[in-house]
C-alpha cells in the first residue's frame, strides 16, 4: 500500500472509530473537549527541564486510547507526522544550552538535552490526547461540541470543511499517484518540474471536487449553518469523568508523583 493510501486509511480509521459503541464514545463531546483542553494546559504548564514529573500524565492518553480502542498504528503514524515540528523546536537546545544537569551511567547530559526530551514528551502526550479525542468523538460531533461551548459557528463550520477538504485532497492525490505509478518506469524518481505540475493538477482537481461537494450541499438547502441531530445530554457520568481526570491532572501538577513514589519506596526499603 502506498504511503498516501495508508494516510487516507488512517484518516478514515479515525472517523470510523468514533462510530464504535465504546464507553468513551458515549461521553458528551463537551466533557471530552474540556478534559483534553485541561490536559493540554497542564502538560504545557510544566517547567522546561521537567521530564520525570510529566510521566504520570501519560496515564490519560493510555487509558483513553484503550477505552476508545484507538489502534497503536494510527497513534504512531500521527506522532511520526508531528515529529518534524517537535524536532524543529527542540533540536537546537542541546547546542545552545550545555549546562551540565544530569549524569546517566557516567555520561553527563546538558540541560539542552533535558529540555529537548521534555519537548518530545510534551508533543507525544498532547498529540496522543488529541488523536484519542478525535477517534472517540469524530470531527462532526467535536465541532458541534465546540459550538455548544460557545465557539462561533463560522469557525466550527470552517473546521469541518477543512477536514472534508483534506479527505478530498487525499483521494485526488491517491488517484494521481496511482495513475503515475502504473505508467512510471520502476525505480525512477520524478523530476522536480513534473512534481510541480502534478501539484498544480492536484489542487485544481481537488478544488473542482470541493466545488461539486459544495453544490451538493447547496442543493439540499445548506445556508452556511451546520446543523446536526444531537443525541447527547450531559449526564452525571460526564461530570464524574471531567471531575476525576481534572482532579488527577491537578494532583500530577501539584505533586511530583515519581519523586514521591521514589521516596516512598526508599523509605519502605530502608
Amino acid at each position: 500500500m502506498s504511503r498516501l493510501a495508508a494516510a487516507l486509511q488512517d484518516l478514515r480509521a479515525l472517523d470510523s472509530l468514533a462510530l464504535r459503541e465504546t464507553a468513551l464514545a458515549r461521553r458528551d463531546p463537551r466533557a471530552k473537549l474540556a478534559v483534553t483542553l485541561c490536559f493540554i494546559v497542564t502538560v504545557l504548564s510544566f517547567g522546561r527541564y521537567q521530564v520525570a514529573a510529566l510521566l504520570p500524565l501519560a496515564l490519560f492518553p493510555a487509558v483513553l486510547s484503550a477505552q476508545a480502542q484507538v489502534p497503536g498504528r494510527v497513534l504512531r503514524r500521527t506522532l511520526w507526522l508531528a515529529s518534524p515540528f517537535a524536532l524543529m523546536v527542540g533540536l537546537a537546545n542541546p547546542w545552545f544550552d550545555r549546562t551540565p544537569m544530569l549524569a546517566l551511567g557516567g555520561i553527563e547530559l546538558g540541560a539542552g538535552w533535558v529540555s529537548f526530551g521534555s519537548i518530545l514528551l510534551r508533543v507525544t502526550l498532547t498529540v496522543s490526547a488529541t488523536v484519542v479525542l478525535l477517534g472517540s468523538t469524530g470531527m462532526h460531533a467535536l465541532c458541534v461540541g465546540l459550538s455548544r461551548l460557545g465557539v462561533p459557528r463560522v469557525f466550527t463550520a470552517q473546521l469541518l470543511f477543512l477536514q472534508r477538504y483534506v479527505h478530498v485532497l487525499a483521494e485526488e492525490a491517491l488517484r494521481i499517484s496511482t495513475a503515475h505509478r502504473l505508467r512510471a518506469a520502476p525505480g525512477r524518481r520524478l523530476p522536480l518540474s513534473l512534481y510541480a505540475s502534478l501539484m498544480g493538477q492536484l489542487l485544481l482537481r481537488a478544488f473542482d471536487r470541493a466545488a461539486r461537494v459544495h453544490q451538493a450541499m447547496l442543493a439540499r438547502g445548506f445556508d452556511g449553518e451546520l446543523r446536526i441531530v444531537e443525541d447527547w445530554r450531559w449526564q452525571r457520568a460526564d461530570t464524574l469523568f471531567v471531575g476525576l481526570w481534572c482532579g488527577y491532572f491537578a494532583l500530577a501538577r501539584a505533586v511530583d508523583l515519581p519523586l514521591a513514589l521514589g521516596r516512598l519506596i526508599t523509605n519502605v526499603w530502608a
Partner: protein
C-alpha cells in the same frame, strides 16, 4: 399549473461555452421525463437550473409557479430534489443517517421529525440497514440509494436525477429502475442509458448542442435512426455483434 415551466432558457459559461441556446420545456405534475443527449449536449446544465445551482442568464424558469430567482431559492430547493451524478460528491457526513438528515435539518425541522423522515427515506430505498455505516464503505449501488434517500428525506415534489445509472452493475441498475418507478414525485432523468429511459419514462427530450431537438415517446424517438445519428446516440434496439477472438486456437 405545470410542475416545471422553462421558457427560452439560455446559459453560457464563463469560458464562453454556450451550453443552452433557448430551451423551452413544460413538465406536468407526476410526469416522468427523460433528457437524453451526448456529452456536452447541455443536460446537466439544464438540470442545474431547476434547483437554482445555476441561474438563468436569459429566459425564465418557474417551479410550481415560483419564478426561480435568488430570493426564492429556499422555496425552490424545498420543492426540487437534486441527485448528483457522482454520489461521492453528495455524501459527506460521517454516517449514512447523518447524511440523510442533512437536508431535513436545513429545512429547520424538529429533531423528532428529522429522525422520522430519515427512517422513512432509508426504508423507501431499502437502505435502513446502512444507517450507521460510513458512506465511503458503501458499494456504488448503495451510495446511489443513500444519495436518493438524502433527497427524498426533504420530501420534494420534483426529483431531478443526473445520470443515475452510471457506474452501477446490472443488479444495482435494476434495483434503481424499480425504485425510481415506485416514487410518486415528478421526475426528470438526464441519462445516456436509453434502456433505462424505455423502462422508466413515458416521455423523453433529446437535447443537442443546447437545444431541444425532439420531444415525445421514447419508443418513437429511438426508432428514428437519423435523429439518433445526428445527436450521437445509439438505439437501445440495435443488435450487438459479439466480439470474435483473434487468438488462433
Amino acid at each position: 399549473m405545470p410542475a416545471i415551466d422553462i421558457r427560452a432558457l439560455v446559459h453560457a459559461y464563463a469560458d464562453g461555452t454556450q451550453a443552452l441556446r433557448g430551451v423551452d420545456l413544460r413538465v406536468d405534475v407526476g410526469e416522468v421525463v427523460a433528457i437524453v443527449g451526448a456529452n456536452g449536449a447541455g443536460k446537466s446544465t439544464l438540470l442545474k437550473h431547476l434547483n437554482g445551482l445555476l441561474l438563468a442568464a436569459s429566459g425564465s424558469v418557474r417551479i410550481e409557479g415560483i419564478p426561480l430567482t435568488r430570493a426564492r431559492l429556499p422555496d425552490v430547493r424545498r420543492r426540487v430534489g437534486y441527485v448528483f451524478q457522482d454520489a461521492d460528491d453528495q455524501l459527506f457526513m460521517p454516517t449514512v443517517q447523518d447524511d440523510v438528515a442533512f437536508g431535513p435539518m436545513n429545512l429547520g425541522l424538529a429533531a423528532s421529525e428529522v429522525r422520522a423522515r430519515v427512517a422513512e427515506a432509508l426504508a423507501a430505498v431499502g437502505a435502513s440497514h446502512l444507517a450507521l455505516r460510513a458512506p465511503y464503505r458503501l458499494s456504488g449501488g448503495e451510495k446511489r440509494a443513500v444519495a436518493i434517500a438524502g433527497v427524498l428525506a426533504m420530501a420534494p415534489s420534483i426529483l431531478v436525477l443526473d445520470e443515475p445509472s452510471t457506474g452501477l452493475d446490472p443488479a444495482g441498475r435494476r434495483r434503481l429502475i424499480e425504485l425510481l418507478g415506485r416514487l410518486p414525485q415528478t421526475r426528470l432523468v438526464a441519462t445516456h442509458d436509453l434502456g433505462l429511459v424505455l423502462q422508466l419514462c413515458p416521455r423523453a427530450l433529446v437535447l443537442h448542442e443546447g437545444r431541444v431537438v425532439a420531444d415525445g415517446a421514447p419508443a418513437r424517438l429511438f426508432a428514428d435512426a437519423e435523429l439518433l445519428r445526428r445527436c450521437q446516440l445509439e438505439s437501445p434496439y440495435e443488435g450487438l455483434k459479439p466480439a470474435r477472438s483473434r487468438c488462433a486456437s
